[in-house]
Amino acid sequence: MNEPASLPLPQLRSLGETSRKDAWWLQPAATFAGLFAFIIYSTWAAFQGNHYWFAAGGAEYLSPFYSPEIFGNSPHAWFGPPPDWLMKIWPPFIPFSPALLILWAPGGFRFTCYYYRGAYYKAFWGDPPSCAVGEPGFRKKKYRGENSFPLIIQNIHRYFLYLALAFIGLLLFDAFKGFTFVDDDGHHRFGIGVGSLVLLINPILLGGYTFGCHSLRHLIGGRHDCMTNCSNARQGAYKGVTCLNRKHMLFAWMSLFWVGFTDFYVRMCSTGVWTDLRIL
């Protein structure tokens, strides 16, 4: 842009300097606390490598942090225990855990999500700490935003979306399995436990979050200028995604909490701390 000489702008404010009188720090602090707590818990849970499934009383619950279990020691593992070739390349200082094979996908989806980007730029990097609040002095004119490396990588979001959509299907399958209980005679029968409902709510909330994704909204119809040229199905899908998109932040937080709680529930049942109540 061929802009003439620099504008004579007011002096930049220092970190946290503002004339705002409201509790502007509250929202970024709450975001920081929520995301930080989730990162700590999910990292801890992912590295455990045990108590991630519950099989007592005929139930078949699998923690969403470990689904799909590609290699592992539970009955849910697709290909059985980790093979020798995998263990040979596995870093020796990291204990093997099936969660570490898959968590990068939903983690990447949330990390590159447009909502979370705005939220953690504020809460973790103070960029800005809140609207109309001064930023850290070291950044000033060095700011590059998402215009260059490393944050230009955020443009990969739609590829994580494709993976996240697959995860919805996998977690729905886990929820379906949560409603089947093995009787004493070895037959699978329909049943409902508290864990079944916990596992079912998880993909519903994740679906609300994933199907309200800005990238999905674009891919499903937003990229067209003339939506009326598109099929009725596409127009309907665009309206549906747009509707969910308006509640994207709400679903982002609800699904984040619930996926963590679902792992916690399965872990508590697996360790025997909680008893899974059978409703039906």
Binding site: S6, P8, R13, G118, D127, C131, K141, Y143
Partner: protein
């Protein structure tokens, strides 16, 4: 209501500071009324830009208690009672005097955005046909009153002074209104990426929060434009699929 104290920014770009004024505030008053009352009572030289007093001209933009707002649309009873009210000029533009800033940079930016370029007329009389459903999306953007509060709160301009590299949320909305228009055939994506700096936006949604017309700037304008830029420059699969798809003018042909 009791008398209220106002801290108002007085001075020019070289020498300015807050000055306090106290005035009676009555029911139904907005901040602009109070400023006019202060002008009448004790500060006749207080500079303040205003016009319609109805939230439609976008002239009286300022920062009230640190938040970018229209003075004419901020009712006194929305502010904490009994507390001093701070009124400052916008911080993303050069100060002229007191509460008046020079927003002419915005008009220069607007000139650099490629203009509306409609497809050939659909009818012999030189008119076009389009569906209301197709223009609904861009009509939201046309509500903009150019108050430039979104430009003021945008930290890329306000805190990083990237005026030479970033056009700001107002003009991303303007570009979106043109780019998503069902009749438009112009391609602005390369400009948005290279000249207009859309990548600088890090989606803090501050622009959306301050918009007096409640335009969903980030979700409906900026992010869809960012996604179009991804289509054009960053997504190898979309680029591959585009080889088999018709160009924009063909897509815009009415059904």
């Amino acid at each position: 209501m009791p008398p209220t104290t106002f801290r108002i920014w007085r001075g020019d770009a070289k020498n300015a500071d807050f000055r306090e004024y106290t005035t009676e505030v009555s029911e139904g008053m907005v901040v602009l009324d109070a400023v006019h009352q202060i002008q009448a009572e004790s500060a006749p030289d207080l500079a303040c830009r205003w016009n319609c007093k109805a939230g439609k001209c976008g002239s009286c933009s300022a920062e009230i208690n640190g938040k970018p707002r229209l003075m004419c649309m901020t009712r006194m009873n929305q502010l904490p009672p009994g507390e001093t009210v701070t009124i400052e000029p916008m911080r993303s533009f050069p100060l002229v005097r007191d509460l008046v800033t020079d927003v002419s940079w915005n008009f220069e930016v607007k000139k650099r955005i490629k203009k509306f370029k409609p497809r050939k007329p659909d009818a012999e009389d030189g008119t076009w046909r389009m569906q209301q459903a197709d223009v609904d999306r861009v009509q939201e953007f046309r509500k903009c009153i150019e108050c430039f509060l979104c430009q003021d709160v945008c930290h890329v301009l306000r805190d990083h002074h990237k005026h030479n590299e970033f056009i700001g949320p107002r003009f991303l909305v303007y570009a979106a209104a043109l780019e998503m228009h069902p009749l438009d055939t112009e391609d602005r994506l390369a400009d948005l990426k290279n000249e207009h700096g859309i990548g600088y936006c890090n989606i803090t949604k501050c622009c959306t929060k301050v918009c007096p017309e409640h335009i969903t700037i980030t979700d409906n304008a900026i992010i869809p434009l960012k996604e179009r830029v991804v289509d054009e420059f960053y997504d190898p699969l979309t680029r591959l699929f585009r080889i088999f798809k018709p160009k924009k003018p063909a897509e815009s042909t009415p059904a």
